[in-house]
């Protein structure tokens, strides 16, 4: 076993250890054992950092991959299949080592931050235990080398998010939110499970490597449609976990969880798992499946952005912004901008975690006020939070010099390239939605910054007896907080253990971490280490797509001389030879190429859109040229549509939830009335028959018996008359009998 594999298993198991210790012993430990959680995560991060260093910095090879597995379930010599085992295993490649470092770092920071934020909670120890099992599950997803174990950890992430979202379970809204999150995820999961089953049923293995090898060898026995279906179904898992349309509804509600949890699971890890998973299965996605993914991502990005602009709850804005950004990542994968999407995954994880933790600091300082309308002027009181929050906002909005700029630009460039390659038309909708959402992002983040940090404090404006007010207190109050007005002097900067994570995360939102050129992420280590893998089901695969002319790889290379696009672009770099990557698939190569060509186009358009968005935010909120309230009234239907989140919750409630309950009640009625009714009816029939039978028995059967007895009796009485006891009579009768016999015998003789 490779030493890195051993280390990665240690990293995986450490948070589980933290969970086990804390769930059982937290009440017996000093400080409820929070130092154990932080310490263990610190160790895990240190080891992950070492793995990252070994793999990314020292090895610096895009094709780096080591794996190890063991037999988990041995089904013996299965008839028709042969020896069949289900294996579990660990894989470490560049993506894994980056994710490993990212997840453990953010988890560590969230642990640290929570020692401040959650201090004094009555279930303080249990909270850290839950963080532990969550981190464990997430690391499991990252390290899995097969579909089955990824599904296992996928569900465990669902469980741990259930526990964390519903941490304040006394609140009805939290209990609702956790259930909703779990169920929405499960809907996605059954799709994912079916996708896994399609692939398994063909190859009798769950291992990524073996499935891909089999697919590449053209051993897929079902039609092309099944393969596309498998891709889309697997993607459904991502739709659930990464909160893509139409299963995005759980994520905003999940803000009921403690705010650091939102930073961990709704910004950096759990929601990223979906994107990560699609990246893992990227090579099995057929062009049709990719189109579905691209459109889903674009719709999600756009829809969530339109909702975010009207939300008043500071965390909900961030939640919808997360949904929107996840849409970007999914869009990126769909259009084939693989590296860009994963790049955005990582950059977004850091700046969004920073934003969530920053909002937590604000909420903490504001005594659990979450409504931005009653904030304002906080920059004077919370300079550290202000600085880091602003930096992360710039990254989210995608301004140059930030990490978000590079990654978002790379995705949008890929989208343009994709639209060109696919022949334009409807496919241009994807970049258009992407750019438009970029503008909206800049707008709502500008609005948020302004409402929260600038101007004067508006706490005194808060209506005292407002329903809204009460509702928000219900949202926020995990301590029995009074509803008096927050006094401004109560607002203060947070302590060091909450500030340090903000600073670290904000630092990681700056461009130089990822690339020396602030305008081009492609020149950085990330994009070089994470390169688009060659598809195993592309058009070049003869077995897939019967209609297409078989093209061998060799011809392809000749047909597309520039296939080694990423390396060629970065030509003079030393890593060029190492990074050389040839695509077996023409479509893939063209898209990547066109994406690179569109690089500057994307930069121009997105910069313009971002500037537009920010200017609009300034016009509305800083210069007050446009009054937001009047505008809201003027376009009231649109405003309400956005404020009410496109009414998805209402639609789902009216259709799926009410429908399921109705069906449940109908079936339950059917069960007790019809099915059981038939049973009871049969029983009654049988019983009635028994009564009939009884009558029959008494009158007919018994009658027969009695009749027989009667007959015997009568006959006996008659016969008794013959039994006189006199010998003479007997002799006469004997003679008569003999005579009769002779008569009978003679007649037989004659005839």
């Amino acid at each position: 076993m490779h030493s890195l594999i051993q280390l990665s298993i240690v990293v995986l198991l450490l948070p589980l250890l933290s969970f086990v210790i804390l769930i059982f012993f937290n009440r017996r430990l000093p400080r409820r054992g929070d130092f154990i959680g932080v310490g263990i995560l610190g160790t895990a991060f240190a080891i992950s950092a070492y793995i990252f260093w070994s793999v990314i910095v020292q090895t610096y090879d895009p094709a780096f991959r080591i794996a190890w597995d063991f037999t988990w379930i041995d089904l013996g010599n299965v008839p028709g299949v042969g020896p069949l085992q289900i294996k579990m295993g660990v894989v470490i490649d560049n993506l894994t080592s980056i994710m490993l470092a990212m997840v453990t770092l953010i988890s560590l920071l969230v642990h640290l931050y929570s020692t401040g934020y959650m201090a004094g909670d009555k279930n303080y120890g249990r909270y850290f235990a839950f963080l532990g099992i969550f981190t464990f599950s997430m690391l499991g997803i990252v390290l899995s080398d097969n579909l089955f174990s990824i599904y296992i950890f996928w569900e465990l992430v669902g469980l741990s998010s259930y526990l964390l979202i519903g941490f304040f379970f006394e609140k009805q809204s939290a209990a609702d939110a956790q259930k909703k999150a779990f169920l929405a995820n499960r809907v996605g999961d059954i799709g994912m499970w079916l996708g896994i089953l399609i692939l398994y049923s063909q190859f009798h293995t769950f291992s990524f490597e073996q499935i891909y090898a089999n697919l590449a060898a053209g051993k897929f026995g079902l039609s092309n449609g099944w393969l596309t279906a498998a891709g889309i179904l697997l993607f459904m898992g991502c739709v659930g976990k990464s909160a893509q349309f139409p299963l995005h509804v759980w994520l905003p509600d999940a803000m009921e969880g403690p705010t650091p949890v939102s930073a961990l699971i709704h910004a950096a890890t759990m929601v990223a798992a979906g994107v990560y998973f699609v990246a893992r299965i990227f090579v099995v996605l057929t062009p049709d499946a990719l189109h579905v993914i691209a459109f889903t991502g674009a719709c999600t990005a756009f829809m969530a952005a339109t909702i975010a602009i009207t939300q008043n709850d500071i965390k909900r804005v961030l939640a919808y912004s997360t949904v929107s950004q996840l849409g970007y990542m999914v869009l990126g994968l769909g259009v084939g901008a693989y590296s860009a999407a994963l790049f955005h995954l990582v950059t977004h994880a850091f700046f969004k975690a920073c934003l969530f933790l920053g909002s937590g600091a604000i909420i903490h300082a504001m005594h659990h006020e979450q409504d931005m309308r009653w904030m304002g002027g906080l920059r004077k009181h919370m300079p550290w939070t202000f600085a880091t929050f602003t930096l992360a906002t710039l990254a989210l909005a995608g301004l140059p010099l930030t990490s978000g700029f590079m990654s978002k630009d790379a995705i949008l460039a890929g989208a343009i390239g994709f639209a060109k390659t696919e022949g334009g038309g409807i496919f241009y909708l994807i970049p258009v939605l992407g750019f438009f959402s970029a503008m909206l992002t800049a707008f709502y983040m500008g609005r948020q910054i302004w409402l929260v940090f600038f101007g004067e404090s508006r706490t005194h404006l808060k209506p005292a007896e407002d329903d809204h007010h009460a509702a928000h207190h219900a949202h926020a109050g995990h301590d029995a907080h009074t509803d008096d007005h927050h006094q401004e002097h109560g607002v203060h900067e947070v302590s060091w253990n909450m500030r340090a994570p903000l600073v670290i995360l904000a630092t990681l939102s700056i461009f130089f971490v990822y690339s020396p050129d602030p305008l081009d992420g492609g020149k950085g280590w990330f994009m070089k280490m994470i390169q688009t893998p060659a598809t195993v089901v592309g058009e070049a695969n003869h077995q897939i797509g019967d209609l297409r002319t078989p093209v061998s790889t060799a011809t392809l290379a000749a047909a597309v001389p520039n296939v080694e696009v990423p390396a060629a672009e970065a030509g003079e770099h030393a890593g060029a030879e190492k990074g050389a990557h040839s695509y077996a698939d023409m479509r893939q190569a063209e898209i990547v190429h066109a994406g690179h060509a569109a690089h500057f186009t994307a930069i121009y358009i997105s910069s313009i859109m971002v500037l537009l968005g920010i200017s609009l935010a300034f016009i509305v909120y800083v210069f007050n040229i446009i009054d937001p309230e009047k505008t809201a009234i003027a376009i009231r239907p649109l405003y309400l549509f956005s404020l009410n989140k496109w009414y998805w919750d209402e639609i789902y409630d009216a259709t799926f939830i009410k429908g399921s309950m109705l069906l449940a009640n109908i079936l339950s009625w059917f069960d007790t009335t019809i099915v059981d009714g038939i049973v009871n009816g049969v029983a009654t029939l049988v019983r009635n028959f028994a009564f009939l039978n009884d009558g029959f028995d008494r009158h007919v059967v018994d009658g027969l018996v009695n009749f027989t007895a009667f007959t015997v009796n009568t006959t006996g009485a008659v016969l008794r008359k013959l039994q006189t006891g006199k010998v003479q009579t007997y002799v006469v009768m004997l003679l008569l009998a003999v005579f009769g016999y002779f008569v009978f015998y003679l007649t037989r003789l004659i005839y």
């Binding site: 089904l75 013996g76 010599n77 299965v78 069949l84 569900e155 006394e170 063909q202 009640n665 339950s668």
Partner: protein, 544 residues
Amino acid sequence: MLSLIVFLPIIAGLVILAVPSSQKQIIRIVSLLAALAQGVLAVLIWRGYDPALPGITAGPGGSPLGSFQFVEKIPWISLHLGGFGSLNIEYFLGVDGISITMVILTALISAIGVLSSWTIQKQVKGYFILYNLLASAMMGCFVALDFFLFYVFWEVMLLPMYFLIGIWGGPNREYAAIKFFLYTLFGSVFMLLVMIGLYFSVTDPVTGNHTFSLVAMATQSNYIKDAILGPANVFWRYVAFIVLFIGFAIKVPMFPFHTWLPDAHVEAPTPISVILAGVLLKLGTYGMIRINFPLFPEVFRAGMYVIGIFGAINIIYGAFCALAQKDLKKMVAYSSISHMGYVLLGLAAGNSEGMVGALYQMFNHGTITAMLFLLVGVIYDRAHTRQIEKFGGLATYMPVYAALVTVAWFASLGLPGLSGFISEALVFVGAFSSVTTRYIAMVSVLGIVFGAAYLLWSLQRMFLGQRKPDAAYDLVVGEDGHEHIHFHDWNGKLDLDGRELAMLVPLMLITIFLGIYPMPVLGMLTTSINKLVQVLSPVVMSQM
């Protein structure tokens, strides 16, 4: 060994017979000791079991030895019936992969059931005598390899169950008991006919006599060609399969023969519910695997699709009915129906993955559902109601109970890391890999979502949020200023007490352990299942 494990409870029952009925504690302890001894024997059998031997059919030379293990075979009843030949009934016990897990499960659940019966106060002596009789009969069913003997155990099981529900049950107990009894009896009458038909159709290859041996019956070459259930008599073989299947399906219970189950569960006392769900339901599917399918493999192949559909109906219909229930125990009862649907689906797949999954699901459903019913019993003891709406916010006041409920509920909804997941996953893997049941599997996955829906919803209504205004308990502020809850008529410990933990924690540990490392159980199954799959279908179905 097997005779001992079967008859130990009856011996305990005889001992109890001699104990005066006022000595309740002695009666309980005798039963517990018998159950524990049974458990020790089960462990010995488990340790001594060789997973390399396949079972299912006879070993080399037509003898059960070399295939089955712990075999005990002696002539039992031998009647010469003149022109009809002779009636040979054997006392024939043995285990293979498909019964060994059930033997272990039965021993486990019986012991848990005794612990759970500790609180029974009414006619303790009679209760435990019947309980021990039931425990013996259940165990006997799983190890009997002679159809006649199986039938005897099967029928003997009915009687104590009838009285245990009918005397120690809830308000509507008599209706539930008679329903259970008649329903099952209805099934077993057909079983009797098929059994006699089989007897006259099969000869023992060794002796040449007719036989009730299930081992001989599982080999198609032992059938007399023109006999009533011989291979030539296709029509009657189909009829026999169907009526036998219905007989077992009632026990499973399979839609539409399931309505006795919710009634029986709601009325039965907690330990009897545990036995019923934990072991008795398994007898239905065990009967299918042991008798129905291998004796009529060609009919099974023809009927896989239909069985699969009934499995899917069970899964989804059971889940929806559970969603609508207001009584917690009834909800759990319907969840049982739903989960037994997975067993049917796995069997219908007819391939190793599906069948291993089905058998593993039987084991896991036994432990998990036992846990669910015990947990329902815990709250019923305290609150004297099971209406879900009468609770709320319990997690704050009964944290240990809430934690165990959460684990059990999640085990039931098939969370990875807990044993139920692996069996359900294998069932789906098998059902999807088989062309016959592929589309059925695609529909059945809905059960995963709705299973989660009813469980999480009940969890939320009972344990999360705040106490409801009309809750079955009062909120009192204690001297230390903390809020407590108080149940009327309950003087015991508010949260789980030692006895309850002793019942629940072992089951929970098993559930977790087998969820992480399933091979201790699966390892015993696979050889037999692979053999069974070959017996069922010479042409393998899991291939495309």
